[in-house]
């Protein structure tokens, strides 16, 4: 039996590169309120956590996300996620 996804869930958030710098931390564990279904929903909620989050996610269209270490689109479901990361487009290689 898994919990219904509308229940409160604990998730680890990670931030990289300039998202990390603007947020002012590399990671944190948060309790998500009920009702957040997608990555986009989560971004909307994160932006409300303070001015540093609002600044970091101002250009939220360019920010990419990964759930449990896999790239996802903003429409992806966050149900069951343990680790969600936000970062700019990658620039390795």
């Amino acid at each position: 039996m898994t919990e219904p996804y509308t229940a409160r869930t604990t998730v680890k958030l990670l931030y990289f590169a300039w998202v990390r710098e603007k947020v002012g931390r590399a990671e944190e564990t948060v309790e998500l309120p009920a009702g957040l279904e997608t990555v986009a929903d989560l971004v909307g909620w994160v932006k409300e956590r303070g001015p540093e989050y609002a600044a970091a996610f101002e250009r939220s269209d360019v920010i990419r996300a990964a759930i449990d270490q896999k790239h996802v689109r903003s429409s992806a479901s966050i149900r069951g996620a343990r680790e969600i990361a936000f970062f700019p487009p990658v620039t390795g290689g």
Binding site: K70, F87, P89, V90, G92
Partner: protein, 151 residues
């Protein structure tokens, strides 16, 4: 069939020898080495720092490598990507592909680099001589380069 994320430098010749040692079925080895250039957009840089997402980096590189293995008949492959602070002239990334024939080795190496550039969670920050840092912007041309593999 190997992926390494490390701070240390690498030796291309030694890595080739390791992949091809005792093999008699490899006819072609292609390597790509990416290096830090001394300037960016016409401005000098003094260093480049590579941040990454430990865990996801290795997983993503392994997925990219598995995809290349499924598309081309490769006898061996290797991806090494460095992290941390690097100087102009330093190595950043190494990709090696080994196959019986040259076209598979060339194509797979280009594929690995194109995918790695747009998928592997690395971020580069360049430091200017005055000490200011600048995150490198992703290039649209890197996204475009992917399209040839999606036909």
């Amino acid at each position: 069939m190997a992926v390494r994320v490390q701070r240390e430098d690498f030796d291309v010749g030694a890595e080739i020898r390791r992949l091809t040692a005792e093999r008699r079925d490899i006819g072609a080895v292609v390597t790509f080495t990416g290096l830090v250039r001394g300037e960016a957009k016409g401005q000098p840089i003094t260093s480049m720092t590579l941040e990454h997402y430990p865990g996801m980096t290795e997983a993503e590189l392994a997925r990219v490598e598995a995809e290349a293995q499924s598309r081309w008949p490769l006898q061996a492959s290797l991806i090494i990507h460095r992290t941390g602070e690097l100087k102009p002239g330093d190595n950043i990334v190494l990709v090696i592909t080994a196959s019986a024939h040259r076209h598979a080795a060339f194509e797979a190496a280009e594929f690995l680099m194109d995918y790695l550039k747009t998928r592997a969670p690395f971020w580069k920050k360049e430091t200017a001589p005055d000490g200011t840092g600048q995150w490198v912007d992703a290039r649209d041309s890197d996204e475009t380069a992917l399209e040839r593999w999606q036909a």
